[in-house]
């Protein structure tokens, strides 16, 4: 059975990220000859003198003209064991929002450092963001090992340096791999140039990583997305609650509570187009029928009686601010949380986190573009939520400017 693994990668042009991605695509036969030919042709026309694999991902005209990457690009590759979605984000400081976007759905964050330069401020920043977004796995690739003669001491020093920093973060699983993206060392198979390295190749690591336990299978959470009412013939009385399971395992016969109303019932059946199922778990999209006819609509949350999410209107968030105009106290914003949209007001900005030092600046009065900080919001109607660390789906919100409709912030519930 082939699973899906979502990878977020970040880094600057210089550390060889594009080369690494190009190699992964090429070595898994996911790069096509006409794509490669187009890149070769453009490199030649620009007089690069080498094949610039960055051109594979830099798809927009402005990017090619300016030689920059302006946005998250999605790449796809597969091996017989897994299919991979790779969200590739640029590493510049001003693009925190892109990294946050890519990391929000990632199972794994892939960071690169240049073996000659070691762990840089940017590496620490990316690791912090991966930790903030609770990406469960992290791989640090120490690239350009050929330029330090595949010296184990260099590798070990970088590894220790990074682990020292990562210990301050909440990253559960960190792997460090010495590679040479250009030469393909330790990418698909173990390299003879690093006999001292006892771990696996990058691709092997990506294929074998255990991700099933990353989901929350304990706390039953089912945000109602849409009420299915065919209103025809023998289905006249059919009433199903469609949604994607956000946590736990639901089964017919389970006693459930509907929030925020607090009404209770039992699951009569879990329907899918392919027939009823005995169990539903994340991230399955299903339709639930209850034994009782309750007044349930989009935005409600189904949970177990003995294990309920918090229900409240005063919520503490870590926010990544994504708009040019700064966020200030008393700002009024719309919030989308699971399938529920509410209005809110910012009551307090507690502090801003310096992503380089992890220092909390409590003197701030506003959050600027790409700032990360802790805020308190009050919502017009209650949300049914969990801490983000407990559940990435029921613990996350987006902040929306009601005047422009723009997504201006990402919030993680504390």
């Amino acid at each position: 059975m082939r699973e899906l693994l979502r990878v977020a990668t970040a880094g600057s042009v210089d550390d060889g990220k594009s080369t690494l991605i190009g190699r992964l695509l090429f070595d898994t036969k996911s790069l096509f000859s006409d794509q490669l030919a187009a890149v070769e042709r453009t490199s030649r026309e620009r007089g690069d003198g080498y094949v610039d694999l960055a051109l594979l991902t830099d798809g927009l005209r402005a990017e090619r003209e300016q030689g920059i990457t302006i946005d998250v690009a999605y790449r796809y590759f597969a091996t017989p064991k897994r299919s991979f979605i790779l969200a590739d984000t640029p590493g510049h400081v001003q693009y925190t929002r892109n990294m946050v976007t890519g990391a929000s759905t990632a199972d794994l964050a892939l960071l690169l450092v240049d073996a000659r330069k070691g762990v840089l401020q940017q590496t620490r920043r990316h690791a912090f963001l991966a930790s903030l977004l609770r990406v469960p796995h992290l791989v640090l690739c120490v690239n350009k090992m050929d330029l330090v003669d595949f010296d184990q001491a260099v590798f070990e020093e970088i590894k220790d340096d990074f682990r020292g920093f990562a210990a301050k973060l909440e990253i559960v699983d960190v792997a460090t791999i010495p590679i040479c993206a250009l030469g393909g060392d330790n990418l698909v198979s173990r390299s003879p140039s690093t006999p001292w390295y006892e771990g696996t190749s990058l691709l092997h690591h990506l294929e074998e990583l255990h991700i099933a336990s990353d989901r929350n299978l304990i706390d039953v959470r089912f945000p109602v997305q849409w009420v299915v009412r065919p209103r025809i013939g023998e289905l006249h009385d059919y009433r199903g609650y469609a949604g994607q399971v956000a946590g736990g395992v639901l089964k017919p016969g389970d006693e459930v509570i509907v929030l925020p109303s607090g009404l209770t019932s039992r699951i009569a059946a879990i329907d899918t187009f392919d027939g009823p199922v005995d169990e539903a778990f994340p991230p399955m999209s299903v339709t639930i029928r209850l034994e009782d006819d309750l007044d349930i609509s989009r935005g409600d949350m189904i949970a177990r009686l003995a294990n309920q999410p918090a229900v409240g209107q005063d919520i503490d968030l870590m926010v990544c601010w994504m708009a040019d105009a700064p966020l200030r106290t008393r700002a009024r914003l719309a919030i989308k949380h699971t399938t529920r949209s509410v209005r809110s007001v910012i009551k307090n900005i507690a502090y801003r986190v310096d992503v380089d030092t992890l220092h909390r600046d409590e003197a701030v009065v506003e959050l600027r573009l790409n700032d990360i900080g802790r805020v308190t919001v009050r919502t017009t109607t209650p949300l049914c939520f969990d801490p983000y660390r407990r559940n990435r789906t029921t613990g996350s919100v987006i902040l929306i400017d009601e005047a422009t409709g723009a997504t201006v912030g990402a919030g993680m519930i504390l």
Binding site: R64, Y74, A78, F281
Partner: protein, 325 residues
């Protein structure tokens, strides 16, 4: 192949431990189930938050898959939106018959925007030079169709692996009143929280299959045992070779001067307008043979068969900016 749906990887049986039933190892989905579930979620979000959605259905493989996922999202209710097709008048008969049959099967309303009608009415002008394509004429007709029907969300079957401009497009792709896409001004998309806020006159294109690859599409067609138009399978056809592509010879697309007509065993990897969609030499007559062929090919589907993307390095980006799918 053969088997369909969740049962394929039904979780391991529950283990009883002192009266508590705890999950045994398992609870995993295949990558196709994960992609399907994500797409169903997107369909339901859009239908919940928009007033007048519609689904672009051309009878091509991506839209066939998209339609099946839509069917699953709202089952047992009927599709809560109409189907839309922009007909260039140069489409393959087999595909048009397929389109109509599938719409009828679902009792879905089918809205057809006709490029020929727009040409006849004089609202658009056709490039009548030999070998010209009506591909670009689809854009104004699509925009008119959206406006006339006041659609505010239009589902499309585009995938990010198709082309590098698409690799950076969001699932919700906002279009202004001219249908234009602004790649530098896209909303960030976080988690599975889609922001559908839009102003009157604006509409969005929604791509539920954004994360699917060409191979995923074929594997899903096999898994779901979906019918597809016959031209996706190898058949013998009169073609001419032009710009390294095999183009069908029909009354609408006759050979150009100096081109010789040859009879070849071919199949179509993408299905679009006859004038700009090439066939590939192939002997794949079953879905499994098609999958094997696609899995081993070294050329992208658009590179192999779409003259419209060969115009310039940024051909797709430019067309999207103008309001193309």
């Amino acid at each position: 192949m053969g088997y369909v749906g969740w049962n394929f990887c039904r979780p391991s049986p529950l283990v009883s431990t002192g009266g508590f039933r705890v999950p045994a190892i398992g609870y995993e989905l295949t990558h196709l189930q994960t992609l399907e579930s994500e797409a169903i979620h997107i369909f339901r979000e859009v239908v919940a938050e928009f007033e007048r959605p519609a689904l672009l259905f051309s009878g091509g493989k991506d839209s066939i898959v998209m339609l099946r996922v839509a069917e699953k999202a709202f089952w047992p209710a009927k599709l809560p939106f109409p189907l839309v097709h922009i007909d260039t008048g140069h489409n393959f008969t087999e595909v048009m018959e397929f389109r109509d049959a599938r719409a009828a099967q679902l009792s879905a309303r089918l809205v057809v925007g006709s490029v020929q009608d727009a040409i006849d009415a004089g609202t658009i002008t056709e490039d009548t030079r030999p070998g010209a394509s009506r591909n670009q004429l689809q854009t104004p007709v699509l925009l008119d169709t959206i406006e006339e029907n006041r659609f505010d969300a239009v589902f499309g079957g585009a995938r990010r692996d198709e082309e590098k401009a698409r690799a950076k497009e969001r699932v919700y792709s906002f279009r202004d009143e001219f249908g234009q896409w602004d790649p530098k001004n896209q909303r960030p998309e976080l988690w599975s929280l889609y922001n559908g806020r839009h102003r009157a006159g604006e509409h969005i294109r929604v791509f539920p299959l954004s994360n699917w690859t060409e191979l995923d599409i074929w594997r899903y067609i096999a898994q779901e045992n979906l019918e597809i138009p016959s031209i996706y399978y190898a058949h013998t056809r009169e073609v001419v070779e032009r710009d390294g592509m095999l183009l069908a010879v029909t009354s609408l697309t006759p050979p150009l001067e100096g081109e010789s007509v040859i009879s070849r065993q071919v199949r179509y990897r993408t299905v679009g307008d006859m004038s700009c969609t090439g066939a590939i030499a192939s002997s794949a007559v079953t879905i499994d043979e098609v999958i094997t062929e696609v899995a081993s090919t070294r050329i992208t589907e658009r590179g192999a068969t779409r003259a419209d993307d060969r115009v310039s390095e940024a051909a797709m980006e430019d067309r999207k900016r103008e309001g193309y799918f």
